[in-house]
C-alpha cells in the first residue's frame, strides 16, 4: 500500500521539477541560489558584496551562440561589476546529454578565457527551471532592493550574435544604463535564437 502512495508522490515531484513553462517575468522577485563555482566555492546572490544587482546569464560551453558571446559577457562584467552589477554565469545543461558542459569542462573553459566572473553549475537544473531559462545564452538582469532582487530585464545580450561589429542595440547595456540613471527600462524583454537547455531525461 505504501508503495502505491509513493509512486504518485514521485510522479508529482517529477512534474513539479520539470522545466516550467512560466518562470520569472519582468517585475517578479528573483529567487536566490547557491551553486558551485569553477573555483570550488559556492556562489549565491546573498554572498555578493557591495552590489546593486546582478547580470545573471544562463550559458554553457558547447553552444555556438554562447561561445559567440563569451568576450561580450567578459566586457559586460568589466564595465558593470564596478558599478554594482557583476555577471553571474550559470551553466544549466545536463552533462549526460551535453558532455562538453560538464563541471570539469566548465573549469577548463573558465581558465582558458580567464572569466573574471563566477561560472557556476546548476547541477540539478532547478535554478534554470525556476527562472524560466529556456535557451543559452539567456540573460536576467536583477536589481537589488535591500535583500530582495527584482527581475528588471529578460532576454538577449544584443541584436547580433555572430557579428559583434554590426550590433545596433546592446539590450543589456541599455537596460543597465537606464537602471543606473534611475530611469525605467524601456526594452525589458527580448528574444534571440539560441540552443535549447539540455534537460535531464
Amino acid at each position: 500500500m505504501k508503495k502505491l502512495l509513493i509512486l504518485p508522490a514521485i510522479l508529482f515531484l517529477f512534474i513539479a521539477a520539470s522545466p516550467s513553462e512560466t518562470g520569472f517575468k519582468v517585475g517578479d522577485k528573483a529567487a536566490d541560489f547557491n551553486l558551485k563555482n569553477v573555483d570550488g566555492k559556492m556562489v549565491s546572490l546573498a554572498g555578493l558584496k557591495n552590489n546593486k544587482g546582478a547580470i545573471v546569464i544562463f550559458t554553457c560551453n558547447h553552444c555556438p551562440c554562447s561561445v559567440a558571446y563569451e568576450d561580450r559577457i567578459i566586457a559586460l562584467h568589466n564595465k558593470y561589476a564596478a558599478q554594482g552589477y557583476p555577471v553571474v554565469a550559470i551553466n544549466p545543461n545536463d552533462p549526460v546529454k551535453s558532455p562538453d558542459d560538464s563541471f570539469e569542462a566548465m573549469v577548463v573553459r573558465a581558465n582558458e578565457k580567464k572569466f573574471p566572473f563566477p561560472y557556476i553549475y546548476d547541477v540539478d537544473q532547478k535554478v534554470a527551471s525556476v527562472y524560466g531559462a529556456v535557451r543559452t545564452p539567456h540573460v536576467f538582469v536583477l536589481t537589488r532592493e535591500e535583500n530582495a532582487y527584482n527581475v528588471t530585464y529578460i532576454g538577449a545580450i544584443d541584436d547580433n550574435t555572430y557579428e559583434p561589429e554590426n550590433v545596433q542595440t546592446r539590450y543589456v547595456e541599455q537596460a543597465l544604463d537606464e537602471i543606473l540613471a534611475g530611469k525605467k527600462v524601456t526594452t525589458n524583454f527580448t528574444k534571440a535564437i539560441g540552443c535549447t537547455i539540455k534537460w535531464k531525461s
Binding site: 553552444c63 555556438p64 551535453s98 529556456v134 535557451r135 532576454g155 538577449a156 541584436d159 547580433n160 550574435t161 555572430y162 557579428e163 554590426n166 545596433q168 539590450y171 527580448t190 528574444k191 534571440a192 535564437i193 539560441g194 540552443c195 535549447t196 537547455i197
Partner: protein, 163 residues
C-alpha cells in the same frame, strides 16, 4: 602516368557525384518566410528552423526528409531554414547538406536581429531551436512547435493536414 590517369578519373567521378547530389542553398531574408506564411495555395508547408550546430535539430532532420519522401505525390513541401552564420555557407552549411544527403529544400535565413522576427513566426517561440511551423494545407491557423520531433509524432501531426 598511370597514377595520374587514375587520379584524373577519380576526380572526374567525384565531380559527377557532386553534380548528382548537390542542391543549391540560397541565402534568404525575412520576406521569404513571410511569403510562405501568407501563401494561399493548397500546399502544406512544413518549415523547420535548425542549424548545423544544433544537435537535436541534426537528429530530427532525417525525419523531415522521410516525411517528404513518403508523401512525394502529395501537396506537401518541406523547407529547412538554417539559422547558421551566413558566412559559413560554403565552409560548413553546403558541405553538411551534401554529407547528410539532405533532399528537402535548405535555405539560410540572414536576419541577425532575431528579436525583430521571432514573434512574427509565433509569439510563443522563445527562440530555442529546433522549432517547426506548419502552414497551408487544411490548417486554418499556422501550427507551431518548439520541440524536437520523432518521426511517428511528426507524421501523425502532418498527415491529416495534407489536402
Amino acid at each position: 602516368m598511370k597514377i595520374k590517369i587514375t587520379l584524373l578519373f577519380l576526380f572526374f567521378l567525384f565531380c559527377i557525384n557532386l553534380r548528382g547530389n548537390a542542391q543549391s542553398v540560397e541565402i534568404v531574408k525575412w520576406d521569404y518566410i513571410e511569403n510562405l506564411m501568407n501563401q494561399k495555395s493548397d500546399t502544406l508547408y512544413v518549415i523547420n528552423f535548425w542549424a548545423t550546430w544544433c544537435a537535436p535539430c541534426v537528429k530530427e532532420l532525417p525525419y523531415f526528409d522521410r516525411l517528404a519522401a513518403e508523401n512525394k505525390s502529395a501537396k506537401l513541401k518541406v523547407i529547412l531554414i538554417s539559422l547558421d552564420f551566413k558566412k559559413q555557407l560554403e565552409s560548413r552549411i553546403i558541405p553538411f547538406v551534401k554529407e547528410k544527403n539532405i533532399q528537402s529544400k535548405v535555405v539560410v535565413l540572414d536576419e541577425p536581429n532575431y528579436n525583430s522576427w521571432i514573434d512574427k513566426v509565433n509569439p510563443e517561440w522563445s527562440g530555442a531551436i529546433p522549432a517547426t511551423l506548419i502552414v497551408g494545407g487544411t490548417t486554418t491557423t499556422p501550427l507551431f512547435f518548439e520541440k524536437e520531433f520523432i518521426f511517428t509524432e511528426l507524421n501523425e501531426i502532418v498527415k491529416p493536414l495534407i489536402k
